[in-house]
């Protein structure tokens, strides 16, 4: 297996704080890779650097064999990187379906002029977008709420909507920042099943999650971050017996 995403020497400072320090990480084609670590370890910062929401202080990010660290976020989206943020923002004043449809921006290109002139290209893209949104909403069981306003959904459902939006871009690399937080038991199980399905379809997934059982079930490999640095990388079995990890993080669990 080759690495789809290669992160090397990635460093990000906020003033005096080292949010990330010389981080190296690989996501192989088709693997589900979990990033774990205590609060403030730098997990979300890592995701925002990969997604392009933040710029690195130093280091490189290579995706599908090319450097992407200079690209604007929307260009990274077009290359096939989708991200569901930890704070799960939804687009207000838009329906659930429309929220998901925005995610299809990355895989369509009809411009405003073609919409105003109602060119065939516009209609073709609209069809693609609607189909993608309906499909993605069904995968997260939101299809029955398609016409509701997105901000009226409970927080857990807003999280699911963000995942649907990300899926609409047919990503090759999907970044999920704590997608299970705030979800109830059955929702959690459904999310785990969805992630397994996506992995089965060959999608590469980078996942932040605090729930150890969730990680143990889903992740091919795990990277442990602490204070912005990588403590260990390996299978869940490997890292749970790593002395540094036990000392810093798993503590009593292991």
């Amino acid at each position: 297996m080759t690495a789809l995403l290669e992160v090397r020497g990635l460093t990000r400072r906020f003033g005096g704080i080292h949010a990330l320090r010389d981080v190296g990480l690989d996501v192989r084609e088709g693997e589900t890779h979990a990033v774990i670590g205590p609060n403030g370890a730098g997990k979300s910062t890592l995701f925002k650097l990969i997604g392009g929401q933040l710029a690195a202080t130093a280091g490189t990010i290579t995706y599908a064999g090319r450097r992407i660290d200079h690209l604007a976020p929307h260009r990274r989206a077009r290359r096939g990187i989708a991200i569901a943020f930890q704070d799960a923002p939804v687009f207000h004043g838009m329906t659930v379906a429309e929220n998901a449809m925005v995610g299809a921006h990355a895989v369509t290109s009809a411009g405003p002029l073609s919409a105003v002139l109602r060119l065939p290209r516009h209609r073709r893209d609209e069809q693609v977008i609607r189909t993608a949104a309906a499909h993605a909403l069904r995968r997260v069981a939101l299809h029955e709420l398609a016409d509701q306003s997105a901000e009226s959904l409970p927080l857990g459902r807003q999280r699911a909507l963000q995942v649907a939006r990300a899926l609409c871009g047919r990503p090759r690399l999907l970044l999920l920042d704590e997608p299970a937080s705030g979800l109830r038991g059955p929702e959690r199980t459904a999310l785990a099943a969805l992630i397994e399905d996506l992995r089965g379809e060959g999608m590469s997934i980078l996942l932040v999650e605090h729930d150890v059982a969730f990680v143990a079930r889903l992740a091919d490999r795990v990277t442990v971050l602490d204070l912005g640095a990588v403590l260990a990388t390996g299978t869940y079995q490997q890292i749970r017996s790593d002395p540094a990890v036990i000392a810093a993080y798993l503590g009593g669990h292991a």
């Binding site: 929307h74 923002p89 939804v90 687009f91 429309e98 925005v102 921006h105 405003p112 919409a115 609209e126």
Partner: protein
Amino acid sequence: MRWIPFVLAAAVVPVFLGPGQLTVYVLLGLSAMAVVGLSLLMGYAGQVSLGQASFTAIGAYTAGLLAVHDVPPLLGLVVAPVAAALAAVVVGVPILRLRGHQLAFATLALQLILLSVLGDADWAGGAIGLQGLPYLSVFGFELNEDLHYAYLVLLGVVLTAVVASSLVRSRAGRGLRALATAPVAAEASGVPVGAYRLLVFAVSAAFAGLAGGIYAFFVGYLAPGSFPVLLSIEYVVMAVVGGLGSIAGAILGATLITLLVQALTSLATQPGMPGYAPGVLSYAVYAVLLIVIVLFVPRGVVPTLSRRFRRETSPGRPAPVDPAPARARPGAGR
């Protein structure tokens, strides 16, 4: 097609108007065109422009100058919105990096600069401006009556509304609406935020520019004083009163404010009122209206009414809707 009855009603009105009232009708329509664009800009790109009348002026002067140099008026009218949009792109690249108040001040400064340049420019007639512009003529038919311009303006309003609504309902429009409330998530979904902000700015400028072009031929003379900062502020008040990002709201806002200003002007020009009364009254009313709207109807009139209407007509939870893809219909403005 809900709007067809409104267009028909608006088309009947001019028949019953006297000369002075027809002028008000035309000016109202011109404002509505500019406000539809401004409402897009404020509602979807989250940008306040306090200098939107700059683009009305650019459109008007473009049409006027071309006409003075014997270019056929219809061509001038077509070039007017293009020139305004180009100007918006040129200034938008640096200006749209600014946020909130800064952009408002930058656009205001822009208008002040434009007005002073126009006032000093010999090629634009300086403070006196351009006089004796020809009437617009379309394939040999000269539009030389107020009634003609009333229908031209109605056409202009319909055109801007149709363009704006097809924009809003499209892929690009969804991107725009998304970036209005969650720009980071929108950009991560592939929405080119910078380009889209520039796009709405250019579209809003084009609408104002088209209004300016029509104005030039309707009035027949142009001066820097025809496009005061007060006009820009009036546009903002109209957009806010109607409801940002609502096309119907923009038109209703323009109508309400125009009628109100008319009433005030007839009051302020009563015998015994000082000469500055109309100006002062307008500013005062705009200030009071803005405060009242922001405090009591922050969404604007049309979105608030349509919300209330929807709540009254659909008791209880909205029923789950058939998930078939075709039903995933984009809604109208917010």
